[in-house]
């Protein structure tokens, strides 16, 4: 493995160390369940915020919809595992899996066609996508229900623990996939708006999701989600190991993406959209793909979150809460992966942990006075965020050394 340089090794060693120390402390019950739940939530929040940082910090699109996708991921994953543990049926898994696959294929096929049509306006393209996806979902549900019984039998033949974990992991990934597909359809027309208008539109999106979830039992017909009463009976299977693994995966994927030509294309749109498009960057495509990737991470984190407490309530995804990842991203430093992870953990540990313990009984609500005040001070003292542009060496992009070249003497002279 010649490709592991010093910073990668250091990062991996550090990650393994952090993971194992916390894992050992949790196993030895030195970290009690109160603190370990907070750690899990912090990890989940870090993934959500990393997704948002990609959209807002790196691509420059001000989005308030991250929590909407977080909710979609959470409820999708929860429904899959709920059906398995409570109803002993894999129908949730098969249907959602088919939807994710078929809708994905449909989107790609249509994209191939649409990009070849010259002068097709966005709304027509959107209508085309939407019709085709709705149709593919219809087909997917039929196929999903058809294969539900054999798949259930298959999972029943496996040991109980194994099938539980396989379904859980698939559910988490599918939560991400569904969120990503929804974000593609939503982003297509909305990403043509300028940044501020885009922010308002995404805010609208997260409100729609919240209202739909409030009425999920009546409007959507998912009785098991119980609408505004909150969904119970989700298995509590998310552990520190899962959260840490997915967080690590997110960090590495985002780091690799950013340190590539695609990442630079994404960042160039934040820097100057007109210049980017004049330099051959397909601005609409990169805005969409960034939005989709960011939302995928939100959905993934939602899936993890649903299985921490085994309880989901639409209020978790309310309008006010949807500012949380935004605050974390700005607090940690727009466009800093390190800052986002740091701020997410700091945010959860301080707000939910330390302040709750420090404040006397009956004053817990003062948390929400103290922490906005902290925010204010922070913005005044360090408007760039806690970490500014700082990245740990593993994530930082390196400027490669100049290779010595037989001097193009003519060139050098000419340029003066």
């Amino acid at each position: 493995m010649k490709r592991l340089n010093k910073s990668s090794v250091l990062f991996l060693v550090g990650a393994v160390l952090v993971f194992s120390v916390i894992q050992v402390l949790i196993s030895m019950k030195i970290i009690n369940s109160f603190w370990s739940t907070i750690l899990l939530q912090a990890g989940v929040m870090a993934i959500v915020a990393l997704g948002l940082n990609l959209i807002y910090g790196f691509n420059g699109q001000f989005s308030l919809g991250q929590y909407g996708f977080y909710a979609i991921g959470a409820y999708t994953a929860a429904d899959i595992t709920y059906r398995w543990t409570q109803l002993h049926s894999a129908s949730g898994l098969t249907v959602v899996l088919m939807i994710a696959i078929l809708a994905g294929i449909t989107i790609m096929l249509i994209r191939n066609v649409v990009t070849k049509i010259r002068g097709l306006d966005t709304l027509s393209a959107f209508a085309l996508y939407l019709t085709a996806v709705v149709f593919s979902i219809f087909v997917a549900i039929k196929i999903g229900q058809l294969i539900a019984n054999p798949v259930t039998a298959l999972f029943n033949s496996l040991p109980e623990q194994t099938s539980q974990y396989i379904i859980y992991l698939l559910a988490v990934l599918l939560g991400g996939a569904i969120a990503a597909e929804v974000s593609f359809l939503f982003g297509l027309p909305v990403l043509t708006l300028g940044s501020d208008y885009f922010g308002i539109a995404t805010l609208g999106f997260s409100i729609i999701v919240k209202v739909l979830l409030d009425n999920s039992d009546t409007m959507l017909g998912f009785a098991e989600m119980k609408g505004a009463r909150g969904m119970i009976g989700i298995p509590k299977v998310t552990t520190w190991a899962f959260v840490f693994f997915f967080l690590l995966l997110t960090v590495v994927i985002i780091r690799n993406l950013l340190n590539s030509s695609y990442g630079r294309a994404i960042v160039s749109i934040r820097e100057d959209e007109t210049a980017a498009t004049s330099m051959g960057i397909d601005v609409a495509f990169y805005k969409t793909i960034t939005f989709v990737i960011g939302s995928f991470f939100a959905g993934l984190a939602g899936g993890l979150y649903a299985h921490i407490n085994g309880f989901l309530h639409p209020n978790t995804f309310s309008f006010v809460k949807s500012f949380d990842p935004l605050i974390i991203v700005v607090f940690g430093g727009l466009g800093s992966v390190t800052g986002t992870v740091g701020a997410a953990f700091g945010w959860a540990l301080v707000l939910e942990g330390v302040l709750r313990l420090v404040l006397p009984d009956g004053f817990e609500t003062w948390r929400f006075v103290i922490y906005p005040a902290l925010l204010l001070v922070m913005m005044l003292l360090k408007p760039n965020g806690l970490f500014g542009n700082y990245e740990i060496p593993f994530i930082r992009s390196i400027v490669p050394a100049l290779k010595e070249k037989k001097a193009d003497s003519e060139t050098a002279k000419e340029a003066a």
Binding site: S261, R264, A275, M279, G280
Partner: protein
Amino acid sequence: MAETTNTTPILELRKLCRYFGGLKAVNEVDLVLQPHALNGLIGPNGSGKTTIFNVITGIYEPTGGEVVFEGQSIGGLDPFIINQMGIARTFQNIRLFPNLTVLDNVRIAYHPHAGYSMSDAIMHNKHFDEKEKELTEKAQDFLRVFNLQDRQAEIARNLPYGEQRRLEIARGLASSPKLLLLDEPAAGMNPKEAITLMELIHFIRDKFDLTILLIEHQMRVVMGICEHITVMDFGQVIARGSAQDVQKDKHVIEAYLGPGAAELSKQYLKERKQ
């Protein structure tokens, strides 16, 4: 005036119009650019030069008329497609990617030729390593042409003005164009710097086999290097030809100095001779 070369023009504007409401920013402009030529586009402020650039590069859609690039009509295409077809530009008020390094500014322009997929990038596999190395070396070569190689790690907005201008041209070249549009490349430079820049433009034209169309206000510069000059006023072409032709043109003098100026300048020249 009409050029009778048998080569097909690289760019042709046919009765190109661009209106903003009632303002005819560009009105029925015809322009033919022969391959490998160095063309100048001049005219008083507000005469529609930059609008022409914006229409050619796809930032604005033409209101009427046609833009034909290498025999293909490109009016109304997306700017990134036009760039990938082979037209690059610089901007009047420098538009770099200000918070990125000098190297990344150039590497971004090379992105359509990156040669690896997004999944390669996420995996950071061997193919990615090779192509990324290739891309970086290519970008560094472009920086070398403009003598910016020692600045590669610098943040673009921290460069001095002249270097920012050069970087913008380097970035334009990195997108491998056949036609390069330069919008006032010598703006804000002193005469000496401007002359050096013009020599550089001449040099890259030959080295990269480009056609160049440039807007410039420093007459010394335009007259010095442009083989063919088009003069615009109020959205219309008022004169075209070589530097000498244009300088003598009555319409040009009046556009710059006001009505009646042509007569005055003739008298002045006569008096000076006596």
